[in-house]
Symmetry: C2
Subunit: 260 residues, 2 copies
């Protein structure tokens, strides 16, 4: 009850209103009423961009082309602020706990798969100057950025990568970047701090299928070669759905773009 009053106070109700706050939201035989815009205040109102983020990260919204213009600032604040790192920390820490508890074989065939863009490497320096995903994808400009080899590591991913290697896992990078980006990607991974990966799998330059099919096919080839996919870390649902997707999957946040 004490908590209830504390809550009611936090929600902006006065002490006099507190007793009726809860019943105004839920009454017997009535519905949980979404409150109208008029009743929202900046401090605790429903934030449409937060809901957009919830919807994309849970794969409720699919095939979206660009970040809504009204969410540019929201996405920028998220990525440049602390929450992005905090979210990534919780995910990678959970991945590490799983890796630690998993009954490994120590024969060199227990692997973890990592995506590259927005998983191992961050393209935030590129997207920060281009409206945080609100602008349509510009493949020429992005190719130029990739060639610069300037993408920094996402530090929580790099930490997990090193922990997994210490535990005896091999790492396979499986990326949607096409073959012609192999050299730049290889060098960028090294500069960013990644070492001793088992494989770096690029998409054939003439591949026309979906990311989901491409990644499923490549994982099948890994399984056929005797590897066991213990974990799979990506920022896109197309990294984690499909076949042979690993004993456990880990979804890192990415509010910048959707890969089909």
């Amino acid at each position: 009850m004490l908590l209830f009053f504390f809550l009611a106070t936090l929600l902006g109700a006065t002490t006099a209103q507190a007793g009726i706050l809860y019943p105004t939201i839920i009454k017997k035989g009535e519905h949980l009423r979404p409150q109208s815009n008029a009743r929202r205040s900046a401090s605790h109102g429903g934030e449409p961009c937060k809901s957009w983020q919830f919807a994309i990260e849970t794969h409720n919204l699919i095939d979206w082309k660009t970040v809504p213009n009204e969410c540019e600032l929201f996405v920028g604040r998220y990525l440049l602020g602390d929450q992005y790192a905090e979210d990534s920390k919780v995910v990678t820490r959970e991945a590490f706990k799983f890796a630690l508890s998993f009954n490994k074989s120590y024969d060199g065939f227990d692997i973890w798969i990592f995506a590259i863009d927005e998983t191992a490497l961050s393209n935030l320096p590129y997207y920060a100057s281009r409206g945080f995903g609100t602008e349509p994808f510009d493949s020429k400009a992005f190719d130029k950025w990739v060639k610069s080899e300037d993408a920094p590591a996402l530090s929580w991913t790099l930490k997990l990568y090193k922990q997994l290697q210490l535990l005896g896992y091999k790492i396979v990078f499986l990326t949607g970047r096409r073959e012609y980006k192999r050299e730049a990607t290889h060098d960028n991974l090294l500069v960013a701090g990644y070492r001793n990966w088992e494989k770096l799998i690029h998409k054939p330059s003439d591949y026309n299928g979906s990311a989901l099919d491409y990644k499923s096919d490549k994982r099948q080839q890994l399984v056929d070669a005797g590897y066991r996919i213990v974990g799979n870390v990506g920022d896109q649902w197309s990294d984690l759905l499909g076949t042979n997707h690993g004993t456990r999957n880990f979804k890192l946040p990415n509010p910048l773009y959707y890969v089909i």
Copy 2:
């Protein structure tokens, strides 16, 4: 650049600091550094409970037993505030858009599956008085709550339910509630505003398997009976993963509990 300064200001940097904010987060060859606790402030610091919510809703964290004690207030504010309704609105609106665009057969066999607890009906009145999921599940107390038939509809779900029926879809409720709760559930659905469902499928009282297997099995029976599962709406990943999970799935928020 103007946006950048606006952003930097919002992130709490002074104009003098703004020029170095971005480079301190990302430098060539360096990592995106998660900022230490010491550098966080209440206004924009990484919020661990937000990250916990991200992790459970994206199925990075699985098999969790209770809400962390330190997140009781966070979960309470989320559920009693506007964001829960806003998130549900975005998801159900997306479901409606999909239902509208889907090429229906109008033969009575295009169905949508709905879960019940925290999808069709809200148990928030129950959980609000029990620490918002921080307390271990108490099946006796919960049974008593179910028997009260007092659970309100989640209003965005009810709206979607009615829209789908108007579009010509049939609705099948597929719930983890066991058979002995059928009468109370049936009556509660009516009181809450749900009408004319096609089926209400309860879990056999002696079923011992996982929710995922139970729901997959029941969906298989629906498919065998000629139904086409167009959409599937749930609050648990065990509602949406597995086999025959529907052409599109819709994941409503539920930070209260995890069903295995």
